[in-house]
C-alpha cells in the first residue's frame, strides 16, 4: 500500500464514520457562541469609546463659545468651571479622553480588555488618580474568564484533536484491522504518520473554514488578513503538536482507554497546571514592589506638599469679595493660590513616586520576559499569548497604552504649568492648541508573534516525531498487535 493509498483509505474511513461531520458541527457551534459573545462585548465597549470621542469632538467649540460669553460679559464664570482659568481648564473642564480603539480581531481574544480600560481622562491631577483605574467588571467574571474564540482554540481544540487521534493505532488493534495494515509494504511509522497527517489536515481545514467565516461575519472594521492568516497558521501548528503527541503515544501500545487518559493528563498538565505554576514561579523570581509601599509613599509626599505649600493653602477665595477676580485682565489671570498649591502638590507626587512606579513597569516587563522565555513548556501559553497579541488585547499592548497616556499627561501638565504659575489666562485659540493624544499603543507585529509561537510549536512537533521514532525502536510495529499489559 502506498502513502497515497493510506491517505485515501483514511479519508474514506473518516467520511464513512461521520465523526468529522459531528466534530465540524461541534467546532462551528462552539466557535460561533464564542465569537458572538466576544463580538457583543467588544461592540458594547466600542460604543462607549465612540460616545467618548463624540463628546470630546465638539468640546473645543463649546469651550470657545463659553469663553466668548464670559469675555463678552454674557456669562458669569463659576469658580471651578471657568474657561479663562488655566487651573479649571487643565483640571477637568478641557480634559479629553485618551482612547485606544479596539482592533477588528479583538472579538476573537478579549485578553486583558476586561481588566484594563481602553480610555483614560487625563487632567493636571497626579497620575495615580486616574492611570490605575481598572475597567468596571464583576470580579467573579474576571475570575471565570471570557468564553471567547481564544479560549476555544487554546483549551478546547486540543481536546478535539485528542478525541480525533487518541486511537490511531489502538483503535485499529481493538477492531482487529491492524494486522492487515501492518502486512502492507509501508513501514508502521509511515502508516501512522500518514493517518495522523490526514486527520490533522481534516481538523485544521474545519477550523480554518469556521474561523474565516466567523471573522468575516463578526470583525469590526476592515479585516486584517495578515493577522488572520497568522491565526490560522498558529491553529495549524498548535493542532499539529497535539496530533503528533497522540501519534507518539500510540506507538507505546496502550489501550484506547489508557491513551485517552494519558493524553488528557498531558492536556491537564500543559493547559491547566503549567500556566498557573509558571505564573507562581515568575512572581517568585521577579516579585512586584509593594502597592502598600506605593500608597505610603504617595501619602508622605502629599503630607510634605501640604506642609510646603501651607501658606498658599491658607489663602482665601478672593472671588467672594471681588467677583471680578474670576475674569482675566489684559491676558492675565491670577490662579487662586489654593488651586496652584494643589497643582504643585500633584506635580511633586508625580515626580517623587515616578521611580517607584517605574519599578512596577520594569518588574512587569521582566515577568513577561520570563513568560516568553519559558512558554515552550506549555503550547497553551504560547497559543494564548499569540492570539491576544494578534488581537491587540495582550498585556504588553495595554502597558504601551498606559505609557503613551503617561507621556500625554506630561505634555498636558507642561501646557498648563506656565499658564498657571505665570498667571496667563486661557486664550480662545488655546483650546485648539491643547495637546492631542497621539499614542497608538503599537500593535505587536503579526509575523513576529506568529513566528515566535509557530516556531516553538513546530519544534515541539519535530521533538514528538523524534520521540515517536525513539519509542518505535523499543516497540517495533510487529509488536503493535499486542497491547501493553
Amino acid at each position: 500500500m502506498s502513502l497515497r493509498a493510506v491517505a485515501r483509505l483514511e479519508w474514506s474511513i473518516i467520511r464513512a464514520d461521520r465523526t468529522l461531520y459531528w466534530m465540524a458541527a461541534l467546532i462551528a457551534c462552539v466557535l460561533s457562541i464564542a465569537a458572538f459573545s466576544g463580538a457583543s462585548q467588544i461592540r458594547a465597549k466600542t460604543e462607549v469609546l465612540q460616545k467618548l470621542v463624540a463628546a470630546d469632538a465638539d468640546k473645543t467649540e463649546r469651550l470657545q463659545l463659553s469663553w466668548d460669553q464670559v469675555m463678552q460679559g454674557k456669562l458669569r464664570p463659576e469658580p471651578f468651571a471657568n474657561p479663562t482659568d488655566p487651573a479649571s481648564v487643565g483640571s477637568g473642564l478641557g480634559a479629553r479622553y485618551n482612547v485606544l480603539p479596539y482592533e477588528p480581531l479583538a472579538f476573537m481574544a478579549l485578553g486583558q480588555a476586561d481588566l484594563y480600560p481602553n480610555y483614560y481622562r487625563v487632567t493636571t491631577r497626579n497620575k495615580t488618580t486616574f492611570l490605575y483605574d481598572g475597567e468596571l467588571e464583576n470580579p467573579w467574571r474576571l475570575l471565570s474568564g471570557a468564553f471567547d474564540m481564544a479560549f476555544v482554540l487554546t483549551y478546547l481544540l486540543p481536546l478535539l484533536a485528542i478525541a480525533w487521534c487518541f486511537q490511531l493505532v489502538s483503535g485499529e488493534r481493538e477492531q482487529g484491522t491492524l494486522r492487515l495494515v501492518l502486512a502492507s509494504r509501508l513501514s508502521g511509522l509511515q502508516w501512522l504518520a500518514t493517518k495522523a497527517l490526514v486527520r490533522w489536515a481534516a481538523l485544521w481545514l474545519v477550523v480554518c473554514l469556521c474561523v474565516v467565516a466567523l471573522v468575516m461575519m463578526q470583525a469590526s472594521g476592515s479585516i486584517q488578513w495578515a493577522r488572520m492568516l497568522w491565526v490560522l497558521a498558529l491553529c495549524g501548528a498548535y493542532l499539529g503538536f497535539w496530533c503528533a503527541l497522540c501519534a507518539a503515544l500510540n506507538v507505546l501500545r496502550f489501550t484506547s482507554a489508557m491513551n485517552a487518559l494519558l493524553l488528557l493528563g498531558a492536556w491537564v498538565l500543559l493547559t491547566l497546571v503549567a500556566p498557573v505554576v509558571l505564573q507562581v514561579v515568575v512572581q517568585w523570581i521577579e516579585p512586584m514592589p509593594s502597592r502598600t509601599e506605593l500608597a505610603a509613599r504617595t501619602r508622605l509626599v502629599t503630607i510634605e506638599g501640604l506642609r510646603r505649600h501651607q501658606d498658599q493653602l491658607q489663602a482665601d477665595y478672593r472671588y467672594v469679595a471681588d467677583p471680578g477676580a474670576l475674569l482675566p485682565k489684559q491676558g492675565r489671570f491670577e490662579v487662586p493660590a489654593r488651586r496652584l498649591a494643589s497643582f504643585k502638590i500633584a506635580q511633586e507626587v508625580d515626580r517623587e513616586i515616578e521611580a517607584l512606579l517605574a519599578q512596577f513597569e520594569v518588574q512587569k516587563a521582566r515577568q513577561q520576559a520570563w513568560v516568553e522565555r519559558f512558554s515552550w513548556i506549555s503550547p497553551a501559553i504560547g497559543m494564548h499569548e499569540a492570539l491576544t497579541a494578534l488581537a491587540g488585547t495582550d498585556a504588553a499592548r495595554y502597558a504601551r497604552f498606559q505609557a503613551d497616556v503617561a507621556q500625554h499627561h506630561e505634555q498636558w501638565k507642561a501646557f498648563f504649568e506656565p499658564r498657571m504659575t505665570e498667571g496667563i489666562a486661557i486664550q480662545r485659540e488655546d483650546f485648539e492648541r491643547l495637546p492631542q493624544f497621539e499614542g497608538a499603543a503599537e500593535l505587536a507585529r503579526p509575523d513576529k508573534v506568529g513566528q515566535a509561537s509557530g516556531t516553538r510549536f513546530i519544534a515541539l512537533v519535530f521533538l514528538l516525531v523524534g520521540l515517536a521514532w525513539g519509542f518505535s525502536q523499543r516497540n517495533p510495529p510487529e509488536r503493535w498487535l499486542k497491547a501493553r499489559a
Binding site: 458669569r76 468596571l136 470580579p139 491547566l272 509593594s290 501619602r299 467672594v320
Partner: protein
C-alpha cells in the same frame, strides 16, 4: 495512581505554602502601614481641616486567614482605599493588573486544585469500576455469584468516597494551619477559622462525593471503559472548564454590568441632582461653590454638600454592588448542573474572599471617610465660619485629628457568611440529590452485566 495522588498532594502543598507566604507578607505590611498612616494623621501640623481631609487616610483590607487556601476574588479586587474629601474612592491596585497575562489561566490554590483537578482524580480512579469489569466479564461473574447490585454499588461507592475524603484532606490541613497562624487583631478568631475550615472541607467533600456518584453511574451504564471515560471527560470539561466562562457571559447578557464611564456619568448626575436640591434648600443657591457663597458659610456648605452626596453615593454604589451580587447569585444557582460554580462560591464565601467580604470592607471604609468629613465640616462650621472673610486662616490641631478613631475593618461573621453561602449550599445539595438519583437508577436499579 499513587504518582497522581503524590502530584496532587505536592501541588496542594506548594500552593498552600505560596498562599501562606503571600498572606503573611501582606498582613505584616498592612499592620505597619495602617499604624504609620494613623500616626501621620495624628501628627499633622496645625492646618485648615479641609486640607487635612485632602491628605486623607489610607485604609487597607486585611487578608482573610483562609485566603491562603482560597484567594477567591482577591486577585481581581484591590485592597487599598484612600479616604479623601468630597467623594467615595474606588478600591485601587488590583493584583491581577500587576501580573502577566498568565494570571487569566487561573490562580494556583488548594481550593482551585480540589475544585478543578479533584473531580478529574475521582474520574480517573472510578471510570473503570464497572465498565472495565463488564468488558472483562468480571461483572457478570460477580452478579452470578448472587451479590446484590445494591451491595456491589455500596462497596464501590465506599471505595470512591474514600478517595474523595483523601483528596480533601490537604484542604483540612491547610485550613488548620491557617487557623494556627491567625494574625493581627482584626482577623477572625482561631475557633471561627477552624469552623470555617470544617465547613470548607465538608462542602468540598460533598462536591467530590457528587462527582463520585456521577462517575459510578456512568461507569455502570457504559458498555465499554472507553465510552465511560469519554463521556465523563466531556462532562468534566463542560462542567469545570467551559461552564464558569459560559455562565459568566450568559449572565452578563442577562444582567449587564455598567461600564466605568457609564457608572461615573450616572454617579455624577445623581450627585449633581442631590447637591442642587440641598444647596437650594440649605444655602439658597443653585450653584455649588458659586461666587455668591460667603466664606462665613463655607463650613456649612461643606457639610451640606457632603451629606447631600452620601445618599447618591449609597444609591449608585449600592445598585452597582447589588448588580454584581445578582450576577453571582444566578451563577450560584447554575451550580445545580455545574457544581463547580456552587462549590467555588461556598469556598470563597467561607474563606472570606468573596464579594460580600469586599463590600463590607468598602462600605465600612466609606463610613470612616464620612466620619472624617462630618468631623471636619462640623469643626469648620463651629470655628472657621465665625471668622467670616478670614475663614481660611483657621487652623485645627491634634485635638481635632484625635477625635477620629483608627479605622477598624468590618468583619463578616460566620453566620453572615453562611447566609451568603446559602444559595450555593442549596444548589450543591440539589446537585448531590440529582447525582444520587442517577447513581441509584444506573448502578443499583438497572445494573446489567
Amino acid at each position: 495512581m499513587l504518582a497522581l495522588l503524590a502530584l496532587f498532594v505536592f501541588l496542594c502543598a506548594i500552593s498552600a505554602a505560596v498562599g501562606w507566604s503571600e498572606q503573611r507578607s501582606i498582613e505584616q505590611e498592612r499592620v505597619v502601614a495602617s499604624r504609620l498612616d494613623y500616626q501621620d494623621w495624628l501628627a499633622q501640623a496645625p492646618k485648615h481641616p479641609h486640607d487635612a481631609a485632602h491628605q486623607g487616610l489610607h485604609v487597607f483590607k486585611p487578608p482573610a486567614p483562609l485566603s491562603m487556601v482560597d484567594p477567591g476574588l482577591t486577585p481581581y479586587l484591590g485592597s487599598t482605599l484612600w479616604l479623601q474629601a468630597h467623594r467615595q474612592s474606588d478600591v485601587r491596585f488590583r493584583p491581577a493588573t500587576d501580573a502577566t497575562g498568565l494570571k487569566r489561566f487561573g490562580t494556583l490554590s488548594v481550593a482551585w486544585i480540589i475544585q478543578v483537578l479533584g473531580p478529574l482524580m475521582i474520574l480517573v480512579m472510578g471510570f473503570g469500576l464497572y465498565a472495565s469489569e463488564r468488558e472483562q466479564g468480571l461483572l457478570r461473574q460477580t452478579l452470578a455469584l448472587g451479590v446484590a447490585p445494591s451491595r456491589l454499588a455500596a462497596g464501590k461507592a465506599l471505595a470512591l468516597i474514600s478517595v474523595a475524603a483523601l483528596l480533601v484532606a490537604p484542604l483540612l490541613f491547610a485550613g488548620l494551619w491557617a487557623a494556627w497562624n491567625v494574625l493581627g487583631s482584626t482577623s477572625q478568631s482561631y475557633g471561627e477559622v477552624v469552623l470555617r475550615t470544617l465547613g470548607l472541607t465538608g462542602s468540598s467533600f460533598v462536591y467530590l462525593l457528587a462527582w463520585a456518584l456521577v462517575v459510578l453511574a456512568v461507569s455502570a451504564w457504559a458498555r465499554q471503559a472507553r465510552v465511560a471515560i469519554v463521556v465523563l471527560l466531556l462532562g468534566w470539561i463542560a462542567a469545570t472548564i467551559a461552564a464558569p466562562r459560559l455562565s459568566a457571559d450568559v449572565v452578563r447578557l442577562m444582567l449587564p454590568t455598567p461600564t466605568r464611564e457609564g457608572f461615573t456619568t450616572s454617579l455624577d448626575q445623581a450627585m449633581q441632582k442631590s447637591h442642587q436640591a440641598a444647596w437650594l434648600k440649605e444655602l439658597g443657591s443653585s450653584t455649588r461653590w458659586g461666587a455668591e457663597l460667603p466664606l462665613s458659610q463655607w463650613g456649612k456648605a461643606l457639610r451640606v454638600d457632603d451629606q447631600a452626596g452620601y445618599r447618591a453615593l449609597d444609591e449608585q454604589f449600592g445598585a452597582l454592588w447589588d448588580r454584581f451580587e445578582a450576577q453571582q447569585r444566578v451563577q450560584q444557582w447554575a451550580g445545580i448542573v455545574a457544581p463547580l460554580l456552587a462549590a467555588r462560591s461556598i469556598s470563597m464565601t467561607l474563606s472570606g474572599t468573596d464579594f460580600a467580604a469586599h463590600r463590607a470592607f468598602a462600605a465600612s471604609a466609606e463610613q470612616h471617610r464620612r466620619r472624617m468629613q462630618d468631623l471636619i465640616s462640623h469643626d469648620l462650621e463651629k470655628h472657621a465660619d465665625a471668622r467670616g472673610e478670614q475663614h481660611f486662616t483657621y487652623k485645627a490641631g491634634r485635638e481635632l485629628w484625635a477625635q477620629l478613631p483608627p479605622y477598624v475593618p468590618a468583619r463578616v461573621g460566620l453566620q453572615q457568611s453562611l447566609m451568603q453561602a446559602t444559595p450555593g449550599l442549596l444548589a450543591l445539595a440539589a446537585h448531590l440529590g440529582l447525582a444520587f438519583a442517577l447513581w441509584w437508577v444506573l448502578a443499583v436499579r438497572r445494573l446489567t452485566p
